[in-house]
Symmetry: C2
Subunit: 221 residues, 2 copies
DNA sequence: GATACCAATTTGGGATACCAAGATGGTATT
DNA sequence: AATACCATCTTGGTATCCCAAATTGGTATC
């Protein structure tokens, strides 16, 4: 594993895990010292993370991307387009057995499962569902979108009921795809994503003072 | 303008303009000498172009992305999803006056217009149409897709009739959007993209021997 | 006390030197 | 002549040094 990949991976995990807060300033020298790498791989890693939208340039200097409510809304529209397209393709496939693996993944979560795991499975559901379509570009689009949503989903206040509803909606979507009902799967998925966006943006908007108090930059919609 | 941006822009133009052939090997030292920059900005530029899919890693070393017929088909599916989503959003807007600017752009092309201009306008049509939706992610997706299709479109054998048909289809799409007919616009756009893909892949497939003879790596579908 | 200005420090951009691993080509041995 | 082997060169990865610009902090002046 090269130093660049090391720095990229660790820095991404720190950002996505909110160990470095949204809006925080980064200096190449700090990262250099933090990970024990020299500036060359550090700069390479920053360039890659920039294309993922996790860090940005603030004139001179680097900043961890803030939580942007308007952007979250746009991402929801974007992922709806690509996820619906993917699920329609999958519903038209002859071999849809990949569905079962995803269903098993969902079922591996229960009341005892830690929140980290729910979080991961909630993202992987959409990514793996998109993978079944067999289109690299749709898959990458979904993966990128979920990455960008990841931090916001950590900050969202979610109760047991919300988790259960998402779980049920996921299963309903899988059932429609398994049955080859493309239109119904698309309708369910659209509704799921729209509701998901609604709750996410509302939750963050209501809590934006609390988030700012924690030092997280939140850009209004 | 920083050196990195210089190298990135020039290298991208050389790749998209087929001055460097698909599949060709690149060494950091050659680029360094070619553009009079040192390896630091060269490496930064390569890292960025890699995320655009224009260059890739070939184990040790860099290669210009080959023409990949399977990939072209997947891109068409991807862009259909995002372009249709964008055009539906635009058709639902109150202010759709941006349409007229795009129509004027189309009309600036006639029989006297050089091929480079047709090529550029053909791509910009889709990009500008997507921009009207006001969604950064849909716009970027379309822009990226068009960038990846750019070289293949240069290689495609297109006659006057094909150009005229595309021109007419573009205008028909605009008319539907202007009238606010989302479903019809979506249908026309889908058909346009599907036909476009069909002709593109067929043309390149039929001509793949000629392309390989010119030193261009072509990966079959 | 406010402000204008200057020096010192910090920061990212760029250039270069070094290294390890892999490709290459020549040579010696059979 | 074929092949095994070794020296050499090439290449990307990394570390480090230099530089210009911008920020910062203090100081002197009004």
């Amino acid at each position: 594993m090269s130093q660049m990949q090391n720095v990229e991976r660790q820095l991404r995990e720190m950002i996505l895990g909110l160990e470095i807060g949204p809006g925080e300033r980064l200096t190449e020298r700090w990262i250099e010292g933090r990970f024990g790498a020299s500036r060359t791989p550090v700069r390479a890693a920053l360039l890659r993370l920039e294309t993922e939208g996790l860090v940005g340039r603030d004139g001179r200097g680097w900043t961890v991307a803030p939580i942007n409510l308007a952007e979250l809304g746009q991402i929801a529209v974007y992922r709806e387009a690509v996820e619906v397209a993917a699920v329609r393709l999958t519903a038209a496939l002859e071999d849809r057995s990949g569905i079962d693996v995803i269903a098993a993944m969902l079922d591996s979560c229960d009341a005892e499962t830690p929140r980290e795991e729910w979080h991961r499975v909630g993202m992987d559901f959409h990514i793996e569902l998109a993978r079944l379509a067999g289109n690299e570009f749709l898959l990458r689009a979904v993966r990128d979108a979920m990455t960008r949503l990841s931090r916001a989903r950590w900050l969202e206040v979610r109760d047991e009921k919300a988790l259960g509803r998402a779980w049920a909606e996921h299963h309903a979507i899988l059932a429609a795809v398994r049955a080859g009902h493309a239109d119904e799967a698309a309708r369910l998925l659209s509704g799921h994503i729209a509701g998901s966006r609604e709750r996410l943006v509302t939750s963050l908007h209501d809590d934006r003072r609390g988030l700012r108090a924690r030092g997280f930059a939140v850009v209004a919609a």
